[in-house]
């Protein structure tokens, strides 16, 4: 069982493979995008250097900022819907009234293994005006006047495309949080119970502080994941009606590939990267501030 420390070059050799792949797949494209963003480039070999003009356009681009707003809305909904609900589920599964915990865990996790495109199609069918289960249900309970063409409602559409995302990833965060709660010493929970703590008090005052760091990881994952939301929205609405469900990644894609404006598309990508970093950084700052206050 005694393992001697591996040689430095063995460690380096092993690390090389993922590092090279990472540099090749993430770092190089990012630097390339930064480079291209200073050009007017409509595809092809000819590019014109235009300095920061693309960024000036970007700052004034109403659609981009609208998309950013949609991303933030999505992040807020998903942090509450994914991490929040997952935490509630974890607490429910943790109680001794729930049987067959393994099955709950497996089926809860199941949706996150489906491709986002398939999830988009499934939910498009649910929202479908004529054959969708949602309108069918409303008719069945006599609320016919509430039926509508769901995905064509600009006020609701962002919420409607967020629901599949929430549904899909609750299980994912549930599994992460479950493994964190499993590490909590049973005696702590038992003594809390003996002291007369309610389930709610146990969750807030005992479990949450003890898995704080895991929750932080979940929130950061959730925020960064939703800043780059794309696939299911692309399938469900393609950003429509109009630009009512446009998110940043889709706007970048549409400018780069549908409008073939690669230079400006690159500027959008850099914009997404910077804004994404800012938002994730801000989340961590807020969390640090919040935890410090408690201590």
């Amino acid at each position: 069982m005694l393992s001697k420390k591996p040689k430095a070059r063995v460690i380096f050799g092993y690390l090389c493979i993922p590092m090279l792949l990472y540099i090749f797949a993430v770092f190089v494209p990012l630097v390339a995008a930064l480079f291209y963003s200073f050009f007017e480039w409509k595809g092809g070999p000819n590019k014109t250097f235009i300095g920061i003009e693309n960024y000036i356009t970007l700052l004034k681009d109403a659609t981009f900022w609208q998309s950013f707003g949609h991303n933030i809305y999505l992040v807020i909904l998903c942090v509450i819907g994914q991490v929040g609900v997952a935490f509630v589920f974890v607490m429910i599964i943790g109680t001794r009234f729930v049987k067959l915990k393994g099955i709950h865990r497996t089926f809860g996790f199941f949706p996150s293994t489906i491709s986002a495109v398939a999830v988009g199609f499934i939910w498009t069918m649910i929202y479908d005006n004529r054959r969708g289960i949602l309108n069918w249900f409303l008719r069945a309970i006599g609320q016919e006047d509430k039926t509508q063409v769901w995905l064509n409602n600009p006020d609701l559409v962002m919420t409607l495309v967020a629901i599949p995302l929430i549904w899909q990833f609750i299980g994912y965060y549930m599994v992460i949080l479950l493994s964190a709660t499993a590490a909590i010493d049973k005696e702590v929970l038992e003594s809390a119970e003996l002291d007369g703590a309610s389930a709610f008090q146990t969750a807030i005052h005992i479990v949450m502080p003890m898995i704080k760091s895991t929750i932080v990881v979940c929130i950061v994952l959730c925020v960064s994941g939703n800043m780059k939301a794309f696939d299911n929205i692309y399938v469900m609405t393609a950003g429509g009606p109009g630009t009512s469900s446009m998110v940043m990644a889709m706007y970048g894609y549409s400018v780069s590939f549908q409008q073939q404006n690669m230079g400006y598309g690159s500027a959008i990508s850099v914009g997404i990267f910077v804004l994404g970093l800012l938002v994730v950084g801000l989340t961590q700052l807020l969390q640090k501030a919040a935890t410090r206050e408690k201590e």
Binding site: G43, P154, G240, P241, G242, T243, F257, Q259, N261
Partner: protein
Amino acid sequence: MKNRSKVLSILLATAMAGSMLAGCGGSSSDNGSDTSAESSESGDNSTGALKDDSALAEGNDNELAYTGELSLMHYSTSEESQGNGGSDGFRSCIKSWLNGHPDITINESVLSNDDYKTQIATQAAADDLPDVFLVQGMNTKAWAEQGLILDLTDTIKESPYYDSYNQAFFTPFTVDGKTYGFPVLTTGTCSVVVYDKQAWADAGYDEFPDNWEDIKKADEYFKDNGYSETIAFGNGGQWQINSCFLSVIGDRFTGGDWFQSLVDKSGAAFTDQEFVDALAFTQDIFQSGIFNEDFNAIGNEDAREYYISGDAPAYICGNWDVSYIQATLAEEDTELYENTGFAVLPQPEGATGSTGTQDIGLGYAVAINAKLADDPDKLAAAIDFAEYVTGPAFATYVGENYALQGLTQVDVDLSNFDQFTQDFYNYSYVDTESCEIYDSYINSAVWDVLNTQTQSMLNGDTTPEDVAAATQEAYESNY
């Protein structure tokens, strides 16, 4: 224990590296295997369906000095060629040309149309286009200016088939008097009203109405008689309203000269009153309730099911939907199949630009990589290939087997076809006036803005004036 974990870690690392590499190389290896699998498959198709391919022999073995490889990228997949005459004809032509030139191999990349558009745009951006590929009308100007595609003006004039070409089809691929491609595949309308003749006769119309007031009247009848809507339409992808509706309605209001002036940048603007009127009409008619209420949320593939299932007595679409409807109805509902008729969009009130038009043309052309200019033998082979797949061999094949037309004009004997095919042939090529397909021209940056804005406008969230102004702005800054 130690050995086990070491083995495990090596396994995991290999698996990870392997999967990532597979991810990178996926597309190219897929294409390779697709191609080989497909070419044998397409051979089976043509014999299995007993299609007449005797016409393909014409001009497939012109003598060429070039030997070696020619790379080709297109979107006529084997799935697409089932029932799509243009794709089948194109694939059969490739095969026949290769038979005539055993010393040349074609390295094919075949993608579905959506993927093709993204892939070819990416390769154009990277200056890494294949030797021969298909270019879309609206990309021609940009790619010609970038020097990516070869000027084929003189080549086309020297083509042995020049006299039988329909010259009008070259315009989307012509920039400043220079032509950059051989228009390819089959000519198909982008806008047709498919309607149930029996249902409309029951409503009191022996023919499909030629004005929208009658349609609104008929709408009352249809709603009272169990139909969900009078006309089905799907604009979920945002391009449908442009290709299948606005190109024609715009033409009815503005006339063809206005659009030509827009293309030539000689004065016309999207904010011109006639075009704003066309937008306003479009908004009004879509808010009048004659269409299915979810037209903005579903695609054309969903909307055509409303017609097929009998929920709607009419459907506005393009030729790609007609071939699907034909194949489906022939199998599932022969009564509706026999009752299906075709009509142009009715004339909007106050529109004086043109009447009875429908937008038809060839959306893609065979283009040749400008780099081939350095290799005359290879260029000659590419030109021979381009002339062959757009020439009389292709036209005769699709004419005899599918009653379709392409770039080269040949006589089609309609007597071998059923009424549905004959009617659609007459609608497409004989009985109607043609107008331009908007998005075969200008560029996607402009149409993307118009399509997105129009979708909001149809919901009543923005005004025709604002749509016109935003589109004009995109036009001025991108074209």
